[in-house]
Amino acid sequence: MSKPHVIVIGAGFTGVATAHDLALRGCDVTVVERGDICHGTSGRTHGLLHSGGRYAVKDKESAVECIDENLILRKIVPQVIEPNGGLFIGLNESDLAYAEQFIESCEECHIPLEELKPQDALKLEPNINPKVLTAFLIPDGTFDPLRLALAFAGTAKHNGAKFRTYHEVQGFVMDGQGNVCGVKVLDRAANKTEEMRADVVVNATGAWSGEVTAMAGLDAPVKPTPGIMVAYDQRFVQRALNRLNVPSDGDIILPQRRMVVVGTTSYDAENVDYIPVTDDQIKLMLERGSELIPGIRNSKPRGIYMAARPLVGGGSGRSMARTFKCYDHKETHNIDGLVTITGGKATTLRAMAEKTADVVCAKLDITTPCVTKETPLLSYRQYYASPN
């Protein structure tokens, strides 16, 4: 009997991790992506390997997901991670007032933390604001966004998954009874259209998943929520730096290679194919960022960019949960053959994939359990190095 064929739309974090999981469970997987790997939101992620500390107070579900997945990623893909930890620093009375709930919530979410005296924090990170009043060490980290995706994609490829990049989905192939049985794609490199058949199609297009489900006549389960990032040209810190307070604009600074990246903002948007950067947001990152690291004012911006988070559920902007949702459209709309996964964080990509693969496998009567928690990924270079 031939293996069931699953098409995954989108080669961002969710798509490549889902391809990896499904390939390990014995599916024949084809990933179609309109650009190259990480063409959309995933590539432009700030790269914070969340410990969950940022969400512990307001969004415990996401926080627990983050700490669990943080520890797993450190084991299976150390090649793309700067595992140096994170500091939450308090600079005023309001920050100090937040500390109590922060400690309690981190404990509840089993996020290990260590309180530091200001002088000890400054010893660890001499470039942070010398007016620091308190600081907490937590197991944050940073990662290279593209290489994180490549490691999943390369391992999936090694296990038989095929990647069709520069293939844009233009519609679904329907079976005549209202169910999805494939996709119509435009091969942008050859300027040719073709139809591809599948037993299940997974929509892993994040901020664009509403546009893709609309091709099947379904409503959008996602709200694209962009935010700005500004990279400055000096590596001021070794650890991820967070303001000890309710998540807000410009309150994260991450080291990456010889830079630090300051992020971010959060607002609702419709079309996210191209999101212009605005001067006031750049100014805000400098103002807020230099509260955490005053030296940023003497460095130069190296890259400025926007990324659109795919948030799910009610509310808007910051108040929305960072957790993820997987929809079997057989259950939501009585349309078989289509599964949508959206929401979530880069840090939880593996868990999102596990959930999605569980749903897909149940539809295909595959009982093989998920093994991605224990499976180290191959070198990220394998994605390009091995033939398609």
Binding site: E82, K123, D144, P145, R258, G295, R381, Q382, Y384
Partner: protein
């Protein structure tokens, strides 16, 4: 209010089985945006068939290397202001010495196989990276910190290297720099990979690689140093110390 420039973006186009040509896009741009933003805008609003690679938009992933007005650039950190002027053209072409997949997108396969062959380090202790900013001495505990390596595998050095154009067999600047980063003393198995016709001796010291490197790797200096390492190893063997 952001400044606005009107430019003609000239993009190299090549589809499978077709002859290459240039397409012109008349565009209004903010000169303080980057070249990749102009390319992405051309794709989003003018022509959905343009193919290009990009991901991080801040010089950590190395995907968006292209030739801008004939010079290799990482387009996500190249300001439009620095490469053209109001009313002028801006020419964008794919990297040389790589097979073109489509338009501006190139195939990184052979290059990544060479990086893998020398087992280029993806991450390394921060104290081993030759980092000068912020200027401070490393504390003893700093050796526990890990950072991503300088080389972002963008391929600009491969595109700019005049010797690379003569044979794809040449290992090339970034892989040789990665071998130097390991050091032959630490990884003796690299000796046979770099001490050969297509290794360290094929370089003609044009230094184009260092001129275009966007990420502080300085491949030319590293190749010169690797030669020293190779000669040193040979001498040690000669006098029986190895």
């Amino acid at each position: 209010m952001s400044e606005k420039w009107n430019i003609i973006l000239r993009i190299y186009r090549q589809k499978e089985g077709e002859a290459p040509h240039m397409d012109n896009f008349q565009m209004e741009v903010n000169p303080d945006e980057y070249v990749i933003d102009a390319v992405e805008r051309a794709w989003a609003f003018h022509d959905r068939t343009i193919c290009f690679r990009h991901a991080c938009h801040h010089s950590t992933c190395g995907a968006c290397g292209m030739r801008v007005n004939g010079v290799e650039k990482l387009t996500c950190i190249t300001l439009i202001r620095d490469v053209t002027y109001d009313g002028a053209t801006l020419k964008v072409e794919p990297l040389r010495n790589f097979p073109v997949v489509s338009d501006l997108a190139v195939d990184m396969g052979l290059f990544y196989r060479k990086m893998e062959k020398v087992d280029a380090r993806a991450v390394l202790p921060v104290t081993e990276a030759e980092i000068e900013n912020p200027p401070r001495k490393w504390a003893s505990e700093d050796s526990e910190y890990i950072r991503l390596s300088d080389c972002i595998e963008c391929g600009l050095c491969i595109s700019a290297c005049p010797i690379m154009a003569t044979t794809p067999e040449y290992l090339g600047p970034a892989p040789l720099a990665a071998a130097q980063d390991h050091g032959i003393h630490r990884k003796p198995e690299l000796l046979s990979i770099v001490d050969c016709e297509d290794g360290v001796w094929r370089c003609h010291s044009a230094f184009e690689c260092t001129a275009v490197c966007p990420s502080f790797v300085d491949p030319a200096r590293r190749i010169m140093d690797l030669r020293k390492q190779v000669v040193g190893t040979r001498l040690s063997k000669l006098i029986g110390k190895a």
